[in-house]
Amino acid sequence: MKKQLTLGHGLILGAFCLGFGIVLAATDFATKEDIATRALEDRLNSLGQVIPDSIHDNNLVEGAIIMKNQRDKEITVYRATKDGKATGFAYEVYGTGYAGQMKLMLGLDAQGKILGVRVLAHKETPGLGDKMEVKKSDWILRFDGLSLGNPPVEKWKVKKDGGQFDQFTGATITPRGVVDAIRSGLELFAAHQDQMMDMNAPKQLTNGAEAKKEGH
């Protein structure tokens, strides 16, 4: 008798699981395509802010390659080409801020000059550390046009550390992290310029499975 009751409850729970499982599968099916489109739009949008449309005629997402950065982390390098020649690169760079990691998108032209930098994600204090967001302040725009030799590498620091970049009022750690991130991004380009420029390079420089994961 008791066994039968347990079975009954189990069946009820099972029926609900099945029902909602079907509903969720249907929702996933209905939204999958739109979600993929939105994700692609987001990525193109953040790329468009650091690589101007005028310098490329390719689809930035399609020409991407995977490579490792200094910290041995895999990054996707998006490449802009015009008439088959490389005209720009964009990739994510990372810096350590006051409240953890900050993720930035760095755009460079073929000579390694900065086309633009934007902060993609951070957890800095609102009102203090978030002045590196372009909608809060134009601080981040001052990097445009600079490169590893201009200013010289020892000046790629905030003023407090003897460099040339202003810190924010009341916040030094955040801008220091941003400047560090950009400098390391420029150094990555300097070290792997040939690899990035090589249009015949395999789409990923590591194995395919990992590249798929990154692209997902």
Binding site: I12, F20, R38, L128
Partner: protein, 224 residues
């Protein structure tokens, strides 16, 4: 019949308000109320989940046995949350980008579960739908109020970025009430959430006492 719905509405919006009277759903009430816009968005998403789950549980209340009701309730809330999560990601992407991380947390919000257990499990479909809806709206109002207070005092704006979330038509809602850089930073940080909630709960109590009501809200007492 109409008196029943009136009571449900009054309970959800004021008397038994999920946040101000029962002190439930504190996680989103603290985490998502840095601005009025975020509070409003989070509240609406929660209200949608609550209305849908309450209706479903009310509909199937005779099939759900006592022994399995808790797992079934959680299953219902989790499924509805996933549904909202996926649809928002696909069709309200701007809102999703702000709230995305917090949508899955609706599952762990105890307010929907509490209403399923206390109301929807014992009432038929329509009253349950009404209860979920009004409790959800009450929750939305509470979150929007907390967000508005924190935003005005903290950053001097009201409904900033509302057009980003709900469309260009809502541009008119965005206001700057205090000059830039005059806000009290602490109010947007976590302590501001606790302070604001505390003061608003006190405010509600004062109004209730003035109206000559007997205060006997369990949640508020046990938390005090």
């Amino acid at each position: 019949m109409t008196t029943q719905y009136k009571t449900i509405a009054k309970d959800g919006l004021w008397e038994n308000n999920g946040v101000f009277a029962m002190l439930l759903g504190m996680c989103p009430a603290m985490a998502m109320t840095g601005t009025a816009t975020n509070g409003l968005g989070m509240g609406l998403a929660t209200a949608a989940v609550m209305a849908a789950s309450s209706m479903l549980v009310g509909m199937f209340r005779n099939q759900i046995t006592q022994e399995v009701r808790i797992p079934v309730f959680i299953l219902v809330v989790a499924s509805m949350t996933t549904l909202v999560d996926l649809s928002m990601n696909a069709w309200m992407h701007e809102l999703y980008k702000v709230l995305g991380m917090f949508i899955p947390l609706i599952v762990s919000n105890c307010l929907p579960l509490a209403r399923l257990e206390a109301f929807a499990g014992k009432n038929s479909t329509l009253p349950s739908l009404a209860d979920g809806l009004f409790m959800g709206i009450g929750f939305t109002i509470a979150l929007t109020m907390i967000g508005a207070v924190r935003e005005i005092v903290g950053s001097g704006t009201l409904f900033a970025d509302a057009s980003l979330l709900f469309g260009p038509a809502f541009k008119a809602m965005e206001m700057r009430l205090l000059p830039e850089d005059t806000g009290i930073l602490m109010m947007i940080l976590p302590p501001g959430g606790f302070l604001t909630l505390g003061l608003l709960v006190v405010g509600k109590r004062i109004l209730d006492v003035r109206a000559g009501k007997e205060i006997q809200m369990g949640g508020a007492h046990s938390a005090a």
